[in-house]
Amino acid sequence: MTDHGMAVGTPVLESVGPVTFGPGDVLFVADNRRAAVVAIDVADPAPAAAGEPFDLEDLDAKLASYLGCAVKDVSIRDLAVHPRTHNVYLSVMRGSGDAARPVIIRIDRADGTVSALSLDAVAWSEVAITDAPAIDDERLETSLAEGDEGEEMTFGDRTFRIVRAPVRMATVTDLKYVDGTLLVAGLSNEEFASTLRRIPFPFTGDVASTGLEIFHVSHGQWETAAPIRTFVPYQGGTSILASYTCTPLVHFPLGDLQPGAKARGRTVAELGSGNTPLDIVSFTREGEEFLLVSHTSHPLMKIACSDIDGQEPLTEPREPVGVPRQLPELQGIGRMDNLNGDYVLAIQRDERGGRHLRSLKTAGL
C-alpha cells in the first residue's frame, strides 16, 4: 500500500471523462463506461513550477499526430493542471466504439512535450459510482423481449423471449476535491434527479450513503431537483456554485450538504436559452475572489463572489437576471483549470475549429 490507501498495479480504464487533482500527485479520473472514479498517482517528475504562463498552439493536431489518428478521432474530455508542477493533464478518447482508447495525456509545461501516462505499475484505487439499486434490481434484469431480440426461456409450459434490461447508470459530469472529500456530480441514464455524491478519500468503497439532493427554485415559484452539469467549490471550499442541466447558476454552502440531506440552493443567475455552461473555475485577485464561467455560446463570464453572497434569490424572470457579470470578450473558451496564482489555463477554439491551450492572465480579466 502507498499513501492515500492506494495499491500499486495497473488500473484498467474503459473510458476517460472529467478529471481533477486531489492531494499530492493524485489525479481523479471518471471512467463513465464502467461507472467508476479511478484515483491514479501520476508521480509527476517535474519540479515545482513558478507563476509563468503556458500556451500551446494546435493542440488538436499535436494530439492527433502523437496518437496516430485523424483530428476528428481525438475527443478531449477534460483538463486538469497539476497543482505543484503545473504540467497539463488531458483526458482524451482516441477513436470511438470498440477501437476507442482512453488516454491520459501529460503536456510538459517546460517544453510543450506531449506524452501518454503509462498506467503500468502505478499506485491507484477506485470507487464505483452506482445508483442506489432499484427495489428489484437483483432479479428483474430480464424483461420480455420484442420481436426476435434476446433468447428463449421456458417457465413450465410457457416460453418467453428474454432480454436483459439495460442497467441504470450514473454518468459523471464533473468532480472536484475538497479537504479529503471527492464531490461527484452525475446524470442518470434513467432518472431525472440531482444527486451530488460526497465520497471520502482515501476511498472506503461505500458510496451508497453519500448521495444528497439539491433543489433549486425558479423565481420563488417552481422547484426542481435537476442534475448538476458543472460546479466549483470556492471560498476555501465552503461554498459551491453549480450550473444545472436547466441552466441556472445556483449557490449552496458545502456545510448544508450532508449525506442523505436535501439541500435547497439559491439561484443567483440565469443564463438564457441556447447556451450551456461548460466549466467554472475560481481565482483570487488582490484579495478578492472571482469565478469564470465558460459556455457553449456565450463568451467567457466573470462573476465576483461577493456579488453571489449579496444576491437575493431570483424572483423576477427577466434577462439578464441575477448577479452582475462581466464578459472579458473571450470567445471559444471550453474547459479550464487554475494554472497558478496569476493565470487560468483554458482550451480555446478558434474560428476554424482548431483548439489551443491559452493562459488567461487573471489581472487582465
Partner: protein, 345 residues
C-alpha cells in the same frame, strides 16, 4: 511533404500486433529505426514541424525496420513514414464488413408526446460508438421536415447503458421547466398540435465503425402537458387465476418511462418473499405484466412500486418534475415504495 518512392512500406504483424514494415526500395541499404517517424498523413499534410510523431515501439529486422504503435493503427487512415529525409505513405484498410446494426426500438412507443415530454430511449441491435449521438438523432417538424434546433439537451458525456446499446436523450430541461429564462425565451421544444418525428439517421456508427443498415423514424403527435405525481392508487390490477402462470397485468393511467418501468415494480407473495418471474412493459408503456416462474398459489400478494418511477415528463411517485410551490397537490410524497395489494383466489 515529399513522396519519393524510396521507402517501401507494408503492413505486418509483430507478436500479435499490427506493425508497419519499412525498407528501402531497390537497394539493400539498412534502415536506422531510431530515425523512423510515423505521422497520420492528413495531420502532417502541411509539414511535420512542431508535431510529435506517433508514439510506439520501433526496431530493425534484417535490413528493414518495424514500427508498432502504442495505441494501434486506425482503420481507414493513411500513415506517412519519414526516415532520413525520405518519406512514403500507406493507407490502413477501412474496417471490413457490411452494415448490419439496426435500431430495435425508440421509446416512448406512444403515438403522442406531452408538450413537456422529457426523455427518449433509442435501443440498438449492437454496441454503438459514442461521442456524436446528437449529430445523428434529430427532432424534426413532421410536416416541414425542418429540424427543431436545440430541442434535445447537449451533454458532454453521453448517456449510454453498460453495453452501449441503449442511448438516453433528454429534451432540454431548461425549456421545459416553468419560469426559467430559456423557457420564456425559446418556449417548449414541442408545440401541441404540431407533430414531430424522431429520426435516427443511418450515419450513426456502431462500435465497429460501420453505419446502420438503415435509419429509423418514429412520428409523434404532441398533446397537452402531463403534470402531477405518478399515482399507483389510480392503477388497475388484473390478477390472474390461481394455479396458472398467466401474467399479472397492471394498467396505468398514463404512459410511464420505459427505462424505469422495467426496474421499478416487483411482486411479493403470501410468504413475504419476492415472486420470481419475468416482466415486460406493455403497449405504449401503459401497462406492465409479470409472469411468475411457478403457478400462482392462492393468497394475498403485494405489488411494490419504487418511488423513483417516472412518467414520460419526469414526474415520479415521490415528486413532480417542476413543483408549483403554491399548489399543495405538488407537495413531495414519501420516498418509500408504494404498495398495492391483490389477492389470488
Amino acid at each position: 511533404m515529399g513522396q519519393r518512392p524510396v521507402l517501401r512500406l507494408e503492413w505486418g504483424e509483430r507478436a500479435g500486433q499490427a506493425c508497419l514494415r519499412v525498407s528501402r526500395a531497390g537497394t539493400n541499404g539498412p534502415i536506422d529505426a531510431e530515425q523512423l517517424r510515423v505521422y497520420p498523413t492528413d495531420v502532417a499534410a502541411s509539414g511535420t514541424a512542431g508535431l510529435p510523431p506517433m508514439t510506439g515501439r520501433r526496431g530493425t529486422d534484417g535490413n528493414g525496420a518495424w514500427f508498432v504503435p502504442r495505441f494501434g493503427f486506425m482503420p481507414g487512415t493513411s500513415y506517412t513514414v519519414v526516415c532520413e529525409g525520405d518519406a512514403a505513405s500507406l493507407d490502413r484498410p477501412a474496417a471490413p464488413g457490411e452494415p448490419t446494426t439496426t435500431v430495435l426500438a425508440i421509446y416512448p412507443s406512444t403515438p403522442a408526446l406531452p408538450r413537456n415530454h422529457l426523455r427518449v430511449y433509442v435501443h440498438f441491435s449492437a454496441p454503438m460508438s459514442e461521442g456524436c449521438a446528437l449529430a445523428h438523432v434529430h427532432v424534426r417538424d413532421a410536416a416541414t421536415r425542418e429540424e427543431l434546433a436545440g430541442a434535445l439537451l447537449e451533454t458532454t458525456e453521453e448517456l449510454w447503458d453498460r453495453e452501449r446499446r441503449r442511448l438516453t436523450l433528454l429534451f432540454d430541461p431548461g425549456r421545459i421547466k416553468r419560469g426559467l429564462v430559456p423557457q420564456r425565451q425559446a418556449g417548449y421544444p414541442l408545440v401541441p398540435g404540431r407533430p414531430v418525428e424522431l429520426l435516427v439517421d443511418a450515419g450513426f456508427r456502431d462500435a465497429l465503425g460501420l453505419p446502420l443498415a438503415a435509419g429509423s423514424v418514429r412520428t409523434y403527435d404532441v398533446g397537452p402537458d402531463l403534470r402531477g405525481h405518478v399515482d399507483p392508487a389510480s392503477w388497475a390490477l388484473r390478477p390472474p387465476e390461481v394455479g396458472t402462470r398467466a401474467p399479472l397485468v397492471v394498467d396505468f393511467d398514463r404512459p410511464l418511462d420505459h427505462g424505469l418501468l422495467v426496474h421499478s415494480l416487483s411482486v411479493t407473495g403470501p410468504d413475504g418473499a419476492r415472486v420470481p418471474g419475468v416482466i415486460g412493459a406493455g403497449p405504449e408503456e401503459r401497462s406492465w405484466a409479470f409472469a411468475p416462474a411457478r403457478p400462482w398459489a392462492p393468497g394475498a400478494y403485494r405489488l411494490d412500486v419504487d418511488h423513483r418511477l417516472e412518467d414520460v415528463a419526469g414526474n415520479s411517485v415521490a415528486r413532480v418534475f417542476d413543483r408549483d410551490l403554491s399548489d399543495p397537490c405538488d407537495n413531495p410524497r414519501p420516498e418509500e415504495p408504494a404498495r398495492l395489494r391483490f389477492v389470488i383466489a
